[in-house]
Symmetry: C2
Subunit: 234 residues, 2 copies
Amino acid sequence: MKGIRALVFDVFGTLVDWRGSIAREAREVLAPHGVSLDWPAFADAWRAQYQPAMEEVRSGKIPFSKLDVLHRRNLEVVLTQFAIGDLDEATKVHLNLAWHRLDAWPDVTPGLTRLRERYRLAPCSNGNISLMVDLARRNGFPWDAILGAEVARDYKPKAIVYQSAADAFDCVPGEVLMVAAHSNDLAAAAQAGLRTAFIARPDEKGPGRGESRASVVVDVSADGLVDLAQRLRS
Amino acid sequence: MKGIRALVFDVFGTLVDWRGSIAREAREVLAPHGVSLDWPAFADAWRAQYQPAMEEVRSGKIPFSKLDVLHRRNLEVVLTQFAIGDLDEATKVHLNLAWHRLDAWPDVTPGLTRLRERYRLAPCSNGNISLMVDLARRNGFPWDAILGAEVARDYKPKAIVYQSAADAFDCVPGEVLMVAAHSNDLAAAAQAGLRTAFIARPDEKGPGRGESRASVVVDVSADGLVDLAQRLRS
């Protein structure tokens, strides 16, 4: 892996456990309102609205909107699906910001800290800047900058998102390693000229329902970020 | 100063001593090539090309270009002014990146570290993202994100640069405090709706040739960032 100068990261699923965290946050916010339901199923339903909402931006149907705004629209859909009515605005705002309160997988902060000694690091996520800032503060992610969708004004897997992250670090795409737990993200990054690292998160979407190996050719695969740092001899 | 949620900072002159650092770097790079000249005057001459170059972007004459690119164009002008020829490309590239090797005033990192406990922090500079990243690594600036010209794709004092920084932090402009050592920067920030903090840097442009007090109305004035933190009771 010579010639790599910067690492950019997918965040939801690769660095943070969105499913477990959203299930916990939804319960904490909604249970006091008398709501009882299958909390992981609620998280899955909210996440299921994610790609269709971004596709409206990618296709040009709506102008670029921060993921917080799309999450809020999607929340209304999911509340209806689960027949939850009568929530006040402050509760909805707080619930929507559950995406700012996600917990990292245990290897992530130690791995990033080690990788930072040799490489510039940034998220290359579809999450908005303030969401990335809150996750970084919560989990101690040592970012050099916050890159990704909000800077590029479009959503992955559009090539501009990966390429604008490389450009911000004064790198050509081939000098940047995209790190993700999702083969489709890595395929798009490779198509945009970046190099690729797959991180196994087999339980991301529930036990055994994440990817345990890449379904596309990648430059390196690892079991977590500490393992990645070792494989890069960082 | 109630209702402030984020602080954004001018960098050149406010946080870092561009004049002393560029004079030092120019000497270190050029003296081995047999060049001898008034190094602070070289720094001043390079900096004198700064506003005219950005004005070409602001006026729409040229598309947005990173400050590194403008600095390189300006360097060619200054090398001609000082009758310095025959520099190889690698030397010019290294000299141009002198702007990535500027040293902070001594109060800056302790002040930012204290302010970070209460506020989100970002540069709102005309410097590009990679330049800000290198200054942060060199000086230990604890930024939450890198905001400013490259994210806004235009240069201060255009209102969009200040407003896009506020928006990235999910703030209305009045929730953001712009911190700068230059009255014109603060006037533009106030016009864009931000609140303003003036930092005295009387020696920024040479002894006694910086601003020791604001020439416009500001919300708070301080002698440095530790003093600012005290005045904000942070």
